[in-house]
Structures are given as C-alpha cells and as structure tokens.
C-alpha cells in the first residue's frame, strides 16, 4: 500500500517512510504549518530537538510549541511569540492594577462598616 507523503517530505520531494520522525506533526493537508516551521527552524534543528527527547508526549509537546512559535513568527515577523508574551504581561498588569483598586474600595467599605459580613467572606 502506498504511503501518503507528509508535508515535510512532500516539500523536500523525498519519499516518506514509516520511519519519518516529522510525519506525525506535519500532515500532508497542512503544508503551511510545515513551511512556517521549516522557514524558522529548518528540518535539521527540528529533528535534533526530537532526537534529544525520549518521551513521545514530550516530543509531541515540543513540536506543538515549535509549530506555535513558527506560526507566531509568520504573523509577527519582528516579535514572533514575544508579541503574545508582551500582550499577556500587559493584560496581567492592567488586571493587577484593577484588582488593587477594587481591593482599596473594599477595604474602605470594610472600615466604614466593620460589622457587615459577606456570605463567602472567609472562604
């Protein structure tokens, strides 16, 4: 039975065998996913990362993170996934500031009305 080449082997125009370590992560019908990863890391570096991990789940997680970084680099050519990190840091800062503000307001109410109790107050 003939084997469908994965996107990595298809791109490199080589025969995809059952030993192809990239095949599980780059299905033939998602060529863009491989192109982005190949463009940013190169096949050799991806294979090296896989070779250094023994556990199958770790290999899979590593490839997911590699593909995520590649897709982010395509989307944000200057910052890559640091764009995502900056956004999250900013959101966290805003939320922490808001939390501090609301806590100050709550503290004010507590001091004004020390006898009031909140149903789930001390959970």
């Amino acid at each position: 039975m003939s084997r469908v080449s994965c996107a990595a082997c298809k791109y490199q125009r080589r025969k995809c065998t059952s030993e192809c370590v990239l095949a599980p992560y780059f299905p033939a019908n998602q060529p863009k996913k491989f192109q982005n990863a190949h463009r940013l890391f190169g096949v050799r570096n991806m294979v090296k990362i896989l070779d250094e991990l023994k556990d199958e789940d770790q290999k899979s997680d590593a490839m997911k993170s590699i593909i995520f970084e590649s897709d982010m680099r395509e989307k944000f050519p200057v910052y890559g996934c640091v764009e995502c990190i900056s956004y999250l840091r900013q959101q966290l800062q805003i939320t922490l500031q808001e939390l501090q503000d609301v806590q100050s307001q709550l503290e004010f109410y507590r001091q004004q009305h020390p006898t009031a109790t909140y149903p789930n107050f001390d959970r």
Copy 2:
C-alpha cells in the same frame, strides 16, 4: 586596527568584518547567547530574518526576540517560550478570578450601604 570577532564569527571560525550583520547582537564576551540562537535557528535563518527587515530598530527587536526564544528553549527544552505564555495565561486567569471575587464582595457592600461613598469612586 584589528577587529574583535563577534561570538557568531568566533564560533564559525571566520573573520568578522564590518559587514557582519550578526556582530551587533552577539558580542564576543557572550558566546552562550549565540550558541543558543545558533542551535535553535541556525545562522542562515537568523540572517534571513534580518534581511527581510529594513528598519534598524525592527532588526534589533527581531534579534532580541530570537535570542529570548533561544534562551527559553535552552531553559525549557520541551515548551520553549510557550512555558512563559502558559505561566502568564495561568496568572491572568487567577487574577481575573480574584478580581471577580473582590468585585462581588464590593457589590455586596454597596447594596448593603448604598449611601456610602468612596473617595475615588467614580474616577
């Protein structure tokens, strides 16, 4: 006057000229920084990223993000900088939940004491 080879040229054992595009980002005294970036992306891919950006500030920001991603991959071989993204997402979730809780408590006090005013309440 002889020019000190940057970490990239030193690693590749080649002469570092004034045209070396990697020299500004990989000083000779920080070889680890280059090794991590070289290991994850390879020199060719880094040069390609730089070539595609025209603005010097963008080139510099791109290299900072590349170096950050490389250092994260060294630190977290499976998740790379996705480790950082997951941590921030988790912190944001926790903080949003806490904010919601404190807002509920505040809302309770407001309903119990509708005439009370907070100094910076409506800012």
